[in-house]
């Protein structure tokens, strides 16, 4: 390797490392700027700074999502507040127990406000979570996947052992048959339910309505008649897409087409706000230096 090649390699490594460090610093700077603005009760600037940090960060961050959601809650932007607080509670954002508790508390406050607004305006909002929703959520958890899969593999092993050695021994055969039945049930029932819930979540991803109110129409287009109005912060499922429009469904079954930018999917790695979503009906959020 010549001296010139070695120097080029060293320069390349330094430039690469510097750009990463610079990006990291910009995220921290924006984050600190946001927290300072929030301490001054300048929630517009805080939200803008947190949005900047979120746009620069290529991954989920529970603390960033929580702060962003809380800033929007203080601004009265219930849709974005709900969206970011929900992202803060996502396990992929690795929330600490403190963040999780605070996010749930703020989510409850935002939810109460959204329900109140929906009552006064006549807009539609998803019904509060029920035990059934919690059950469905629990079924979709990874531990159910592990249990069902291990039960299936255990069933294979137990079946082999049963047929090879235990079939001729009546006392042990009874116990092994019971074990086989239990493993088969655990494999089929929780496994089937887990597959169903994961498939539903994949085919119909959850999303949050961002603007304060969105008209859901009978078809994709502004000329189509309005079926109902969705409250900002309402949780919906995205059933279908058409250029610029999404077909959404409330848990009660009510469906309508809304502008694509008015709903943000919860499973997206990047937060919707940083992608420049619509602010229709929401209080204006000041940019950097507004305050």
């Amino acid at each position: 390797m010549t001296l010139r090649s070695s120097l080029s390699l060293v320069v390349f490594v330094i430039v690469l490392g510097w750009s990463t460090l610079a990006s990291a610093d910009a995220v921290d700077d924006a984050f600190v700027e946001g927290t300072e603005a929030a301490e001054r009760n300048d929630w517009s600037s805080a939200a803008a700074s947190f949005e900047t940090a979120s746009a620069l960060l290529p991954q989920r961050s529970a603390v960033l999502s929580y702060n962003l959601g809380t800033a929007y809650a203080n601004l009265g932007d219930l849709g974005r507040s709900t969206y970011h607080l929900r992202r803060a509670t996502d396990w992929r954002a690795r929330p600490t127990t403190e963040i999780l508790e605070a996010a749930r508390s703020n989510l409850a406050a935002v939810r109460r406000r959204a329900e109140l607004d929906a009552t006064t305006s006549g807009a539609m909002i998803d019904r509060p979570q029920t035990t059934w929703d919690l059950l469905v959520g629990a079924i979709a958890a990874p531990w159910v996947a592990w249990i069902s899969l291990l039960s299936g593999l255990g069933f294979c092993v137990a079946l082999y052992v049963h047929r090879r050695w235990l079939r001729a021994q009546p006392r042990r055969a009874g116990a092994s048959r019971a074990l086989l039945i239990v493993l088969a049930l655990v494999f089929t029932i929780p496994g089937g339910l887990h597959g169903w819930s994961v498939r539903a979540a994949t085919a119909q991803p959850e999303a949050i309505v961002l603007p304060a109110a969105v008209d859901a129409r009978e078809g994709p287009g502004q000329h189509r008649s309005v079926s109902f109005t969705l409250q900002g912060g309402a949780q919906v499922r995205v059933l279908d897409r058409s250029p610029g429009w999404s077909l959404v469904k409330l848990p009660g079954g009510l469906t309508g087409w809304v502008p694509e930018a008015s709903v943000a999917r919860l499973d997206a790695v990047r937060a919707a706000g940083s992608a420049g979503g619509s602010r229709e009906g929401a209080p204006a959020v000041g940019k950097r230096g507004d305050a």
């Binding site: 990291a24 995220v27 921290d28 984050f31 600190v32 927290t35 929030a38 301490e39 929630w43 940090a53 960060l57 991954q59 961050s61 603390v63 960033l64 929580y66 702060n67 809380t70 800033a71 809650a73 203080n74 601004l75 009265g76 219930l78 507040s81 992929r92 954002a93 690795r94 403190e98 963040i99 508790e101 605070a102 996010a103 508390s105 703020n106 409850a108 406050a109 109460r112 406000r113 109140l116 009552t119 006064t120 006549g122 990874p142 996947a145 592990w146 069902s148 899969l149 299936g152 593999l153 069933f155 294979c156 079946l159 082999y160 047929r163 494999f187 496994g191 597959g195 994961v198 209080p283």
Partner: protein, 591 residues
């Protein structure tokens, strides 16, 4: 002979003639018979109602004409006979080779009942020299229940001129009204006879009025002069005049059977302005009628920040959908939202109903919240004076610490744009955003799916493999031979390992030879002493030389095991080679 033949021909001819007469004569008699029938679509009617009567004359033949039925005088006395329609139909049927024919003359007449009583209607038709009478139908005609429909307003002017069979009648319940006061307009079609094609060609105009449709009554019968008329209600409107002066309801035009026309006169109404005396400032001209107002809350004990609903309900008569309820009271330390307004119209000639204003209210402070009475001012045209309806005062107890204030007015001003009222958890202040990328889940969705699908696959493959092994695998004899071979290999290995040391060598060789001998001898060789075993091998066809070598080797082993002549390693090598040679020979022979 000839005489007998002619007699026979004459007899045959007479029989044929008799048969023809027997068959044809009744048919001819039936063909001459005429039947007369009368039918009615109703057997009971009110004076003025129209009944459709059908007079039928029929004959079982398609030839000739049928007489026209003659209506009896009793029909003309009790009913007005409208324009009758007549027609003749012929039918021929061929059922199972038998041909039947019929001719029917049908006369259909609308009869309008004029007199009260029970009338038997029948008619006669000539049939040759005699007359055939029809059946009779009894029609009971009862008196009209009053001269007006029960729903009609007695103040409405009624027609008196009965000179035309059909005419249009428009009227209002009053000729003079205040601005905003209800005037009921009605348009009716009066028919002395049934006219099938009557339509309103020109509808009346209601310029200067707010017009509300009100329910139409059913068709009814009434007397105009001494003639009964069916009244078909066409239009019912509640009119609310919007400006003082003379307002005119435009004329209407009725088209009868696309040829005749009937016109109504326009109606001029004198509309009075609302009196200035006693009129409150900003009074809405739509608040004319008679109203009451009430207030209620859905709960009278709440916590600060807990919403409750305050509902004002206005009930009464008037154009309630345009009612101006006035300014609602603003309660201190209570946030309220625009009301949800619902209206329920009452069904009837007089427009009215209830209109509710539901306010969502959120008290901010503890204590007793007093909701003042709301006053609704309206003009009562019946009293020709302004009146005030008032709701009652309502008190709501707002619980919690009476000294605690959820939000002061100063807070309210400071918190412009701060919409979420519940206390929010503070943000987290850290020097940097954690960047540890979360580990990817090992059990991804794809892996989980593959794993779940592989479980039944493994089970099925295992079961299929087991079945295939049982179906195509070795039988008991083969497995037994395999066991023997394995045991033989084991003994040979043991003997080879013990050649140098001699420990267990002869035992292994003896057992090996014994096993081979038993394998050749078969099951019957088991348990036999050596001499018997050798004889059995002889019977099984083993050569004498082989038997001799086998016996020799076994004896050498016995000597070595039980005697003192163990020999050296070389001798054991020779013994092993000999034993293996014998084993190969015996095994070849057994195979």
């Amino acid at each position: 002979m000839r005489s007998a033949t002619s007699q026979s021909v004459r007899t045959t001819f007479l029989w044929v003639l008799f048969s023809l007469c027997a068959v044809l004569l009744p048919g001819t008699a039936f063909a001459k018979g005429i039947t007369a029938t009368v039918e009615a679509d109703e057997t009971q009617a009110v004076v003025g109602d129209v009944i459709t009567m059908e007079f039928l004359v029929s004959r079982s033949s398609t030839r000739g004409s049928l007489p026209t039925p003659e209506l009896p005088q009793s029909v003309a006395d009790a009913f007005d006979v409208g324009q009758c329609a007549s027609g003749t139909s012929r039918s021929v049927q061929n059922i199972n080779g038998r041909r039947t024919a019929a001719t029917t003359r049908r006369v259909s007449c609308p009869l309008t009942a004029r007199k009260v009583g029970t009338f038997k209607i029948a008619f006669t038709v000539p049939d040759g020299k005699k007359r055939v009478a029809s059946n009779s139908v009894s029609i009971e005609v009862i008196a009209a229940d009053g001269e007006r429909a029960p729903l009609e307003d007695p103040t409405v002017e009624a027609p008196t001129d009965a000179s035309e069979d059909v005419f249009l009648w428009v009227s209002t319940n009053k000729k003079r009204a205040y601005v905003g006061e209800q005037v009921t307009f009605r348009l009716d079609v009066y028919e002395a006879q049934r006219f099938l094609d009557v339509s309103l060609r020109t509808s009346p105009t209601f310029e200067g009025f707010i017009s509300e449709e009100i329910p139409l009554p059913e068709v009814y019968t009434t007397m105009v002069g001494d003639r009964p008329f069916r009244v078909r209600p066409g239009i019912r409107r509640a009119l609310f005049p919007q400006q003082a002066g003379t307002s005119t309801i435009g004329a209407s035009e009725l088209l009868i059977s696309r040829r005749k026309r009937r016109f109504s006169d326009p109606i001029a109404l004198e509309i009075l302005p609302l009196p200035a005396e006693g009129q409150p400032p900003g009074f809405s001209a739509n608040n004319v009628g008679r109203y009451q107002i009430s207030a209620k809350v859905d709960r009278d004990e709440v916590q600060p920040g807990e919403p409750f609903t305050l509902t004002y309900t206005v009930a009464g008569e008037g154009n309630i959908e345009l009612l101006d309820p006035g300014e609602w009271a603003v309660l201190p330390s209570v946030r309220s939202y625009d009301p949800k307004v619902t209206t329920e119209r009452s069904r009837g000639d007089v427009v009215g109903g209830t209109r509710s204003y539901a306010f969502l209210m959120i008290p901010e402070r503890s204590g007793t919240l007093s909701i003042p009475a709301h006053e609704l001012v309206f003009f009562d045209p019946a009293q020709e004076a302004y009146a005030t309806a008032s709701s009652s005062v309502i008190e709501v107890v707002v619980g919690g610490d009476p000294n605690a204030i959820v939000r002061t007015d100063e807070d309210e001003e400071a918190a412009v744009g701060t919409v979420v009222d519940d206390p929010l958890a503070p943000i987290f202040s850290t020097a940097s955003v954690p960047r540890d990328l979360p580990r990817d889940r090992w059990l991804t969705q794809e892996r989980w799916t593959m794993g779940m699908l592989s479980v039944p696959l493994i089970v099925m493959l295992g079961l299929a493999g087991g079945w295939a092994w049982r179906r195509f695998g070795p039988d008991d004899a083969a497995r037994g031979r395999a066991v023997v071979r394995a045991r033989r290999r084991e003994r040979i290995e043991l003997a080879q390992g013990a050649v140098e040391s001699g420990d267990g060598f002869h035992t292994a060789i003896s057992a090996l030879l014994q096993d081979v001998a038993l394998e050749v001898a078969g099951p019957e060789g088991t348990g036999l002493p050596r001499s018997e075993l050798l004889r059995l091998l002889d019977r099984k066809g083993v050569e004498a030389e082989e038997r001799r070598r086998l016996e020799s080797l076994l004896e050498q082993c016995d000597v070595a095991r039980f005697g003192a002549a163990d020999g050296g390693a070389d001798e054991r090598h020779h013994l092993l080679d000999d034993a293996l040679s014998v084993v190969r020979m015996l095994s070849k022979g057994a195979a």
